[in-house]
Structure formats: C-alpha cells, structure tokens
Amino acid sequence: MMPNLQFDFLVNKEDNTLTMRREFLGSRQLVWDCYTKSELLDQWFAPAPLTTKTKTMDFREGGHWHYAMIEPNGTEYWGWTEYLKINPIEYYTALDAFTNAEGEINYDLPRAEWRISFSEEGDNALVQSVVTYKSLADLETVIQMGMEKGMMATLEKLDLLLSKIKK
C-alpha cells in the first residue's frame, strides 16, 4: 500500500463547507494535470468499479467537463463541471451539476461550488478542495440521489474490499 499520506477532512457546519486536504506522491504540475486533463481524469475520477468516460472537455474559464461514470452493467451517471476561475497550477474554481447525456443541466438539483488549490509539500503535492453547498438540505439531496442510484452500496462494497486488502 501507499505510505502514510496526509488526508484531512474538515466539516464546517457554520458556513456549509467541507474541506479536504490530501497529499500526493507527485509534482504539483503532474497532479494539476491529473485534475484538469480529461485523458487523466478518465483514469481515476469514478470510484471503482465504476469507470469514467469524458464526452467533452473544455478546460478554460466558462468552459466545462461533461462526463459519465459508468457501472460495469453499463448504467451511466452523467456529471458536469463548469469552470469559473482558473489560475494554473495554483487553483481553479468550479460549479458541479447533474446533467444528462445531452448535457442538459438539471437546475432543480443542487450545485456545489468547488475551489481546488494546489501547493507543494517537499517533493509532494498538496491538494486542498473546499466544497461549498448552499445548505445542508442541498447536500442531503445530492447524497440521497447517490444512494437511490445504488452508488453508495457499490462504494460500501469497495470499502470492505479495501479494508480486507489492507489487513
């Protein structure tokens, strides 16, 4: 397994934010590429056994990433990331959204704002993600959807598998 890498997960219930800080064994440029190039995102973004497929990627301010996470049985979950501000290789901000294969955003469902910042920690890269939901009810809806679609069950199986491998 990987050596101990820093992973902080902080919840601020006063301002509806979740903050994740994770260290990676790679240069800041390389990790930035993994977050911003679709051919690399396709290789890690969907939690296994789901796979990622990019439909369109236009990484610029006002541009978007339109992708699907696909279950082994072929079920597709479509996602959309709209890029707001980009400052390579320091940070970018984006709005996520639920969408369909045609890229029509479902405005009835909540959108969270993401600010992803990249810094250096010795030879490693440190990525901080701050996710802001308008309200907890928003977050609840998002997670409820995940559960309804069976994604959570899939993830729980994966957790179990990972904990077995680690032992």
Partner: protein, 105 residues
Amino acid sequence: MRRDVFQAIADPTRRAIIALIAVQAMTPNALAGHFDTTRQAVSKHLRILTECELVKQEHQGREIYYQLEIDKMKEIDKWLEQFRSIWENRFQQLDKLLSTIKKQK
C-alpha cells in the same frame, strides 16, 4: 417550510440550546434562564430547531419540554462519512495513476 440544518446550528445561541438539552429535556423558561435574552427570543430559536427536526417537544402536564432528536444529528454525520468515503476511494485511485505515470517516465 423545511429549514436546513446548517442554518439551524449556525447561530451560537441555538448551538448552546442544543448543548443544554443534550444533557436533559428542558422547558423554554428553564432554557431562558441560561441566556441574556428574552423568553421570546429563546422561543424563536426553539421554533427554528423544531422546524429542522433537531429538537422535539414533549408535553408533560402543562409544561412543554424540549429534547434533542439524536437520530437527526447522526444522519448528518452519516452523510458526511459517505462523502468522505467517495473521495478517499478517488484519491487512492489517483495515487495509483500517479505511480503508473512516474514509472512510465
């Protein structure tokens, strides 16, 4: 109207109320004794907490006691744990990808 829980616990007085009634169910009058605000202000906070289903009322004779809805608090933590789990899995996949790319170089 359904209020959201983050909003409910954003207020310091409401957080203090939650802390007090977590220990034991209390009446609005008993709660008001702990704060430098009016009984009306405490009642308003209790109403918001009730609307968020964070506290529930229990009638005992002529008095209304407020108590904490512990299940609701647990629900929030469960959601957050699932969110964390998704990202832990993603990050582990990114670890693998980084190591693969570095080997190719």
